[in-house]
Structures are given as structure tokens and as C-alpha cells.
Symmetry: C2
Subunit: 255 residues, 2 copies
């Protein structure tokens, strides 16, 4: 059983039986849409769908729509949107900056960030980072897959990778940055309370932690709140999921 099929089994087991696809096109009930070759393959060979079967579509702008498969061959599929099932929900104004990890771990971070309601994901290069090869298109595919599964109506934006120093130099005035560092003195809940109601971004360092010059740069930056995620050492991907969950519970849309 392939990964996609395994995930389908999970979805069925979860009662999340509606197949949801992200499309780029505008959604309205008048015109059929052509799906991509990857979506066609997914519908036909993984999900065993056929003409007449119903799926759901979203595009990040027009809400969620029911749609009927009009044609489905080995090479092409057309679907026709029917009723709109849900209005578009606002995109969470929360960013995640992270130092890219191994491919499977990066996929995990993008998946969890999507589920946990991040609006934009920004890979940043740090001294101890595990890789400098970042395939932005691949990250976007992970984000789309996760959005399809967690019933989000949008896909987090993937920002172009850049060195951490550049991201800090160009940092906007109107956004706080919660930088997670095991050596920080302040707790996450304290940092979020201290920062107050501006929009936030969360920065997770690489497995090796920040280099001393990076910690200095962060400590001296006016937007940065250094904070620690408890007394145990977390893997970078655990830290990402944990920090995002804390943010949502304390200052975000889980309140």
C-alpha cells in the first residue's frame, strides 16, 4: 500500500470521507474545470473514483464547493462545481520561520504547520542548518496535501528561502518574532503575554541550535522575543509543532 493509499485509509477510518482538492482556478457553478495530471492520477488510481462521483474543491478564495467528476481517463479529468458548501475563512496571520531539515522532517513540519493554522512558511538558512537545498515547489505540494486533509480552505504561502540575517534585516515593523531557544530565560507564555496583540511569527532553529552570532543578532533585534520550550531538549520538528500549538492556544484562533 503506497503512502497516498495509506493516507486514504486513514481518511476513511477518520470519517473524513469527502475527497478535497485544491485548485488554482476560480470556482463557480457554470464551467467545468480541468484537473492536473497528478490530481487525475490521484482520483482515478489512488481513490478509485469515476465519472459521476462527487468531490470537494477549494482554491483559497471562493470557499468550499461540491463538484461532480464529469470525465476521468488515464490522462485528464474534468469536474463541474455544483453547490458552494462553505464560505471562505480568513487566512491565519501567523508565520513560521524554520531552518530546513532532512526531507521527511521538513515534510512533517510543513504538514503540522498547515494543520496548526500557519498563514505563511518561510525557510531560513542558519549556520547549523541541515541542508541548503530547498525545493519550494515540493514544500508547496506538502502544504496542499495537508490543507486538503485538514479541511483548511486555503494553503499556507511558501516564502522564498533566504539567510536568517536577511530575514531579520528586512523584518516588518508590525510583527513580533517569537524565537525559540533552549537557553532563553523567558517562557513561551510569558513572551506571548509580553508581546501583546501584534501579529506574530515563530522561529524554530536548526537541530544544532543557533550559532552564537545568530543568538546575538536575535537578542539585539527589536521585534524578537526569545523564549524557551520547557526544560527538555526537543527535536526541531517537535519544537515547531509545540510552539505553534502554544501560540494558537494562548494568542491565536484556538482561544
Amino acid at each position: 500500500m503506497g503512502r497516498a493509499q495509506e493516507e486514504h485509509e486513514e481518511e476513511r477510518a477518520g470519517g473524513r470521507s469527502a475527497i478535497r482538492l485544491f485548485v488554482e482556478a476560480a470556482l463557480d457553478a457554470r464551467a467545468p474545470l480541468a484537473l492536473t495530471p497528478a490530481q487525475t492520477h490521484y482520483l482515478r488510481s489512488v481513490m478509485r473514483q469515476g465519472p459521476g462521483d462527487r468531490i470537494r474543491l477549494f482554491n483559497g478564495r471562493d470557499g468550499e464547493w461540491e463538484a461532480t467528476i464529469e470525465s476521468l481517463t488515464g490522462r485528464a479529468a474534468a469536474v463541474r462545481p455544483g453547490a458552494r458548501l462553505a464560505a471562505q475563512t480568513p487566512v491565519p496571520d501567523l508565520r513560521l520561520l524554520f531552518a530546513p531539515l532532512k526531507a521527511t522532517t521538513t515534510r512533517f513540519v510543513v504538514q503540522k504547520a498547515t494543520e496548526l493554522g500557519v498563514g505563511a512558511i518561510h525557510p531560513v538558512l542558519t549556520h547549523h542548518g541541515q541542508t541548503r537545498r530547498i525545493n519550494v515547489e515540493r514544500l508547496r505540494v506538502h502544504a496542499i496535501e495537508a490543507a486538503q486533509q485538514c479541511r483548511r480552505l486555503d494553503v499556507p504561502q511558501i516564502l522564498p528561502p533566504c539567510p536568517l540575517a536577511d530575514a531579520l534585516a528586512a523584518w516588518p515593523q508590525d510583527r513580533h518574532l517569537l524565537a525559540c531557544d533552549p537557553n532563553a530565560g523567558r517562557s513561551v507564555s510569558k513572551a506571548l503575554a509580553d508581546g501583546g496583540d501584534k501579529p506574530w511569527a515563530i522561529l524554530i532553529g536548526p537541530e544544532g541550535g543557533f550559532a552564537p552570532e545568530e543568538t546575538r543578532m536575535l537578542a539585539n533585534h527589536q521585534a524578537v522575543f526569545l523564549a524557551r520550550l520547557g526544560p527538555r531538549i526537543l527535536r526541531a520538528e517537535t519544537a515547531a509543532a509545540a510552539a505553534l500549538a502554544c501560540f494558537q492556544a494562548i494568542a491565536g484562533d484556538w482561544r
Copy 2:
């Protein structure tokens, strides 16, 4: 490169270069200890250690000790504890109850629960659970691996699996249970504030959610606080990591 070696690479990249092993025996500086065959293999073939190399040991009771490898062959290893490096830290009084998932996902949950400071892990069987075959010994191996890597000085206890109804029937008077349910009206932070300072356990349902009779049973139980983890659908393993992080930040040892 095998999984163990990959994780070694991660540890080195993370500057977490000390090899840490959990042992059952008492730790003191007088007598050498024999390691298990699995530990012997790990030291020799995965970590390429030899006699004279130094590692660290912990047993959940006596703190962390430096130790020197005295002998290491294909079949047996002996190590001699030297100096005690750290005193024992208290075991977090937080429990995780979860409906067992596929093997890889269960490993993930045990690993994250260990990193996030859970004292005991209790597999509970629910109507929509993905499996009824639970290998407690395997869960313990995952917990030991994770404790060795996250520098915990103890290993979470794995409690014997039982049906959710039995766990609720035998529930202790002095512990709250935060039951995560997407249909609950209360937020996690509200539930934790409402419950106050008793010890807590956190219950994560299966991928398919709780069955109606399970939700009823939870809603009617005096120890239970039903709460939701935000507006998006989380995978069960994401929910586990997210709820534990929220607990630690709001009511646990991350404050």
C-alpha cells in the same frame, strides 16, 4: 544509512554528541555494568564506540552518570560508571491516554509524549481505534529511545492497555482528564483554567473521533473536561503533541 545511524547524524549535527543509555541497574561508581545485546550492538556497530570511550547512563532514579566502556565485543559490553553529572529530576505528573494508531504513528506519539514531558502513557481502546494489537514492550522501547535523545533522566511508564470505559470507571478522584474533541465548546486554555491545579491527564481520541456513546460517557464523567484544539481538523498524532505542548505552556513545567 539506517534509521539509528541517521538519528546519530542528527544528534551530532545537534551538538548532542554524548551517547546516553538507559539502564535498569542501580548506578554507582564501584562496579561495572553489563549492557544488553541491543545496547552492545548500538554502541559497537551504530555508534562505532570502543573500549575507553565515554558515554552517559541514567536509570530513572540515580541521576545521570558518566561511564567508560571497559569492554565491547560483538556479544557483550561492560561499562564502568564514573562521576555523577546530574541529580535525578522529578517525573512529570502528566498522563497521556491515546487510542493506538498505525505502528509508525504510535511510535511518533510515544516519542513526542516523551519529549514533551509525559510521566505515563496509557493506550486505551476506543470504538473507532485503528488497531487492537498493542505491543507494550515495543512502546517502551520507543519511550527509552526518545528519553535517551531528549536528555530526560527517566522513561515514561507504559500502562497496560484497556478499554476507554474501564479507564474511566477506575478513574482516580485526584486527577482531571482533558478530553480533546473537535465538537467540544470549550477551548483548551479555558478548560485548563477551569480545572485548576490538580494533576491532569490528556485523552486523544482515534482518527475517527469518539463514538457517540463514548462522547456521552466522557461528558457525564466528573473528572472530564472536554475541550477542542481549534477550528481545523488535526491528525490524532498532531493533536497529541499539540495538547501536551499547550498543557505544559499553560499549566505544566514550561511556565
